[in-house]
């Protein structure tokens, strides 16, 4: 089959590789019909996540048709149409039972690597470094899905792929971000980043009762999308714009009730701070560039909540923890507990409450993916989301 492989920093290539096979009794093989490129893939592309190796197959947002099932998968049959969550969960460990699926104990074959780095290991992920499982990903024509008895969501209606594909990651991720923000009716919520995760965080904040959402980014097409679903936008790159001042101005001086960091470790910053983080990461004194997290902590109102769906990987510097403590804020974060949200969000899509395909800007073939990774990284061509048909020529 054809698969998109990570071949080093800033280098991905399409290669012909062997087809995946069933390796465990709860596996399924899926023929992929649509797959997407995620903001998280950029952290791999840019070399921020350790334990990537040449030849690793990328991709964790995909859906398709069940081709074959292992002998202990009773819930799926060849021919079923499914969306697959990017976190792999066993369904039986202490954490799965607590519905903290992304903390599953039993799905990371390389748990020892993550334990060495973080103390504990989370669940295995598709196409997201050896430390996080080393599973071949789904920017490919076929994929092996472990614990297919637990993860995949069957799509029984005739909704087109594009409307349900984002149940594989970013819609649930945006939703969990809003849930983690502990939104009360009529709250004001600020969202940094109007990429796909930010978009669904904005949409979900409204669904959960926010009166006002303030969306922050610098790309006009992304800010346009945010306004199209009802947010007030702040272009942080505008001359004389201070995000902190803007958020005070828009909240009567108290700050947003909740702040959502939908940017993560590669936040862009034009200011002195940005240069500081650049130097520090170059010297390996810091691994992440937390300029958005710093702002979110500073901006949130006293007793408010900071929710962090944006990915962080290592050590952060100059995080204003004194402000966090002084204001008595709550912080919630983590990989999305996918399995809690897929079914209820599918129902919202089926009822027509949201059409997640509104964020798609590019539809491409697998062969075009290497070029499009660069476009996606540089946010060129008004890109807002790229969907791949791995079978299109």
């Amino acid at each position: 089959m054809k698969a998109l492989c990570w071949m080093g920093n800033n280098k991905v290539e399409v290669h012909n590789v062997t087809d995946p096979t069933i390796l465990n009794p709860h596996d399924a093989i899926i023929k992929i019909t649509r797959t997407a490129i995620c903001g998280s893939d950029l952290h791999l592309f840019d070399g921020f996540i350790p334990t990537m190796e040449e030849g690793d197959i990328l991709g964790h947002e995909f859906m398709g048709i069940v081709e074959e099932v292992g002998k202990e998968v009773a819930n799926l049959q060849p021919g079923d149409r499914v969306v697959v969550p990017f976190t792999i969960a066993c369904g039986n460990c202490e954490f799965c039972k607590k519905r903290i699926w992304s903390a599953c104990d039993n799905t990371n074959p390389n748990a020892h690597l993550m334990e060495a780095a973080y103390g504990y290991s989370g669940s295995g992920l598709f196409g997201y470094s050896h430390m996080m499982g080393g599973y071949a990903g789904g920017q490919a024509q076929y994929v092996r899905v472990p614990f297919a008895n637990v993860g995949p969501l069957k799509i029984e209606s005739d909704l087109p792929d594009e409307k349900v594909l984002f149940l594989s990651d970013i819609f649930p991720t945006g939703y969990m971000a809003a849930e983690n923000a502990q939104i009360q009716e009529n709250d004001t919520v600020a969202v940094w980043g109007c990429g796909p995760v930010g978009q669904f965080a904005i949409a979900s904040a409204f669904m959960l009762g926010a009166a006002r959402v303030i969306a922050i980014d610098r790309f006009p097409e992304r800010l346009d999308l945010a306004r199209s679903i009802g947010a007030i936008t702040v272009d942080y790159s505008g001359e004389d714009v201070s995000v902190l001042t803007a958020l005070k101005d828009l909240t009567g001086g108290i700050g947003p009730d909740a702040c959502i960091d939908a940017v993560g470790l590669e936040a862009h910053s034009a200011q002195l701070q940005g240069i500081y983080d650049k130097v520090k990461t170059a010297l390996m004194l810091e691994t992440d560039r937390p300029s958005v997290l710093r702002q979110a902590i500073q901006a949130v109102r006293k007793g408010g909540t900071v929710s962090i769906p944006g990915v962080y990987g290592g050590l952060l510097d100059k995080v204003p923890f004194g402000a966090a403590f002084g204001k008595g804020i709550t912080m919630k974060m983590g990989q999305t507990n996918m399995h809690n949200y897929m079914e209820p969000l599918l129902q919202r899509i089926e009822k027509g409450q949201i059409d997640p395909s509104y964020i798609i800007s590019h539809r491409i073939t697998l062969e075009q993916a290497p070029e499009m990774y660069k476009v996606w990284r540089d946010k060129k061509e008004n890109v807002t989301k790229i969907v791949i048909d791995p079978w299109a020529a």
């Binding site: 465990n24 030849g55 690793d56 104990d105 990371n108 080393g134």
Partner: protein
């Protein structure tokens, strides 16, 4: 009992001494120190199964190769004794770098069960052969009421066994114990052991060669079930 605090509706009675020496008179005790060529490892896992089931699984020594890395065969030789065979050459995985001349080499030893408390504890030691090791495993209901805390305390004398793990599997023997308990838990909870060995990938570069021992794709994962 205590006079200062009389409200603790869910507190569990503390044992005077807990198994594997984790608690003594209310104090936590660290694992024994490595010395005189002897190394110790104590590790534990919370497993969602009852102690009896886990005890049975562990006591079935002939099934150990299903979840212990590099153990090729265990044969029961008596009520309390067994013979262990461990691969000391790399396994021919049929993968990229399968050819390993030494793949048929093994080290062997005999083992004897010293204590056998059904549903609670098993202790063992080697009684001759190419490895000197001893250990115990304890199964205790978790204070949460959810699952069983499985604690393994094992000691090795550095020798062939330890060096085999280091050179072939790329693990020190302490990590090997952590991994076999991890596999045991996965098998008990899910009926399988997560694996990536044999999955597709693109052309591998040089780096993968050096770090191969760290990745599941390269370390032979125990089979979890008998070949059918």
């Amino acid at each position: 009992m205590s006079k200062a605090l009389n409200e603790k509706p869910n507190a569990k009675l503390l044992p005077a001494s807990s198994s594997a020496g984790v608690i003594l008179n209310g104090r936590y005790l660290p694992p024994p120190e490595d010395k005189d060529g002897k190394i110790w490892i104590r590790t534990s896992a919370l497993v969602q199964a009852d102690p009896e089931t886990l005890y049975e699984m562990w006591r079935d020594v002939e099934s150990a190769p299903l979840w212990q890395e590099q153990i090729e065969r265990v044969t029961r030789t008596g009520e309390t004794t067994s013979h262990w065979v461990m691969r000391s050459g790399g396994k021919d995985s049929g993968g990229d770098k399968g050819k390993n001349k030494d793949k048929d080499r093994t080290i062997e030893w005999d083992s004897e069960v010293l204590a056998d408390e059904p549903g609670r504890r098993i202790a063992w030691r080697s009684i001759g052969g190419e490895s000197e090791n001893a250990g115990e495993v304890i199964f205790e209901p978790s204070p949460s009421g959810r699952g069983t805390m499985v604690t393994v305390l094992q000691e090795f004398r550095m020798g062939k066994l330890a060096s085999v793990w280091e050179t072939i599997v790329g693990r020190n023997p302490k990590q090997a114990v952590i991994e076999y308990l991890r596999h045991f838990k996965a098998l008990a909870e899910t009926g399988e052991i997560p694996r990536t060995e044999g999955q597709p990938h693109g052309p591998r570069g040089k780096i993968a060669g050096i770090k191969r021992s760290m990745y599941g794709e390269e370390i032979p994962t125990p089979p979890a079930r008998k070949a059918s």
